[in-house]
């Protein structure tokens, strides 16, 4: 067994610590602008303050799942197959599930204020809920016991199937007329401006910084999880080999 090392502890480095401080500062500035300085919307009133976290969280969920799918494809492609791609696919999917959960909860709260109901079976809402379930399923598949390569390939296939729902979620508001409003910013003439637009921009900045920080730490954690799994596997093989020789030696003694 490897000796218990006593080197650097944790997943942090000076760079990630600086990133962490900048992220916390960005979240604080976002809070100031989104909750205090920006005005209430003419139509939606103060509930628009949920927009500054809801929309960036949705974009980051898309980004996470797109990265996961790309990493899955790179793992499946024999010429680019590396354990790191499988690891990245799993890590980004997990972070994507976190952001999708945030999107669903903030969306439900916003829906309650705007429509009077936490949930309607609107195409955008339903496809987002499906996205959440699909990626929770993907994470469950990653935990199913199997050989490392088999598990990675199986997960990559599931990841590539799950990503199909992302464009459906995105264009659901255009394809099916539901209650969910269309895109707020991806228009030639955006529907918000001034301090509201700036608050939304800050939401994206704080969200991206959070995403980068989480990704770095979670990826390093995954590296250690894989190293420990390999260590346990080595130990199990050693045990099996020992078990195989001990009875033979006992039988020889008789």
């Amino acid at each position: 067994m490897k000796p218990m090392a006593r080197g650097r502890v944790g997943t942090g480095t000076p760079a990630t610590r600086v990133l962490g401080v900048v992220t916390l500062a960005a979240i604080a500035v976002l809070g100031l602008f989104a909750l205090v300085l920006s005005p209430a919307d003419e139509l939606q009133g103060d509930s628009v303050r949920l927009l500054y976290v809801h929309v960036p969280a949705a974009s980051l969920a898309y980004l996470s799942f797109a990265m996961s799918a790309m990493a899955s494809a790179l793992y499946l492609w024999p010429r680019t197959r590396r354990p790191g791609w499988d690891r990245l696919a799993g890590v980004t999917a997990e972070i994507g599930v976190l952001f999708t959960g945030i999107v669903l909860i903030t969306g439900m709260l916003w829906g309650k204020v705007s429509w009077g109901a936490y949930w309607t079976w609107d195409a955008r809402l339903t496809s987002t809920a499906l996205l959440f379930v699909l990626y929770v399923g993907y994470l469950a598949v990653r935990r199913m016991p199997a050989a490392v390569d088999v598990r990675a390939k199986r997960s990559a296939v599931v990841g590539l199937v799950a990503i199909i729902d992302v464009p459906i979620v995105h264009w659901a508001v255009d394809w099916w007329q539901g209650q969910h409003p269309q895109s707020t910013i991806l228009h030639l003439h955006p529907k918000i401006s001034g301090l509201m637009a700036f608050s939304l921009f800050l939401g994206f900045v704080a969200g991206l910084l959070s995403f980068a920080w989480l990704l770095m730490h979670r990826y390093r954690l995954a590296v250690m999880e894989d190293a420990l799994e390999a260590q346990w596997l080595d130990l199990a093989i050693e045990d099996r080999q020992r078990e195989g020789t001990v009875p033979a030696a006992g039988a020889a003694a008789r």
């Binding site: 942090g12 103060d46 945030i102 590296v223």
Partner: protein
């Protein structure tokens, strides 16, 4: 400000969710890093 309750709950979910997840990752990272040699931690 109107609908304060919904806005506060929404923001608590966002900050709390991200914070809880970050804390869990950092804590687990610290625990696992104690069981591994430095060569298994390329960032160190």
């Amino acid at each position: 400000m109107t609908d304060v309750g919904y806005i506060v709950v929404g923001w608590v979910v966002v900050v709390g969710g991200l914070g809880t997840y970050a804390l869990r990752v950092v804590r687990r990272g610290r625990a696992l890093s104690r069981e591994l040699p430095d060569e298994d931690k390329p960032w160190t």
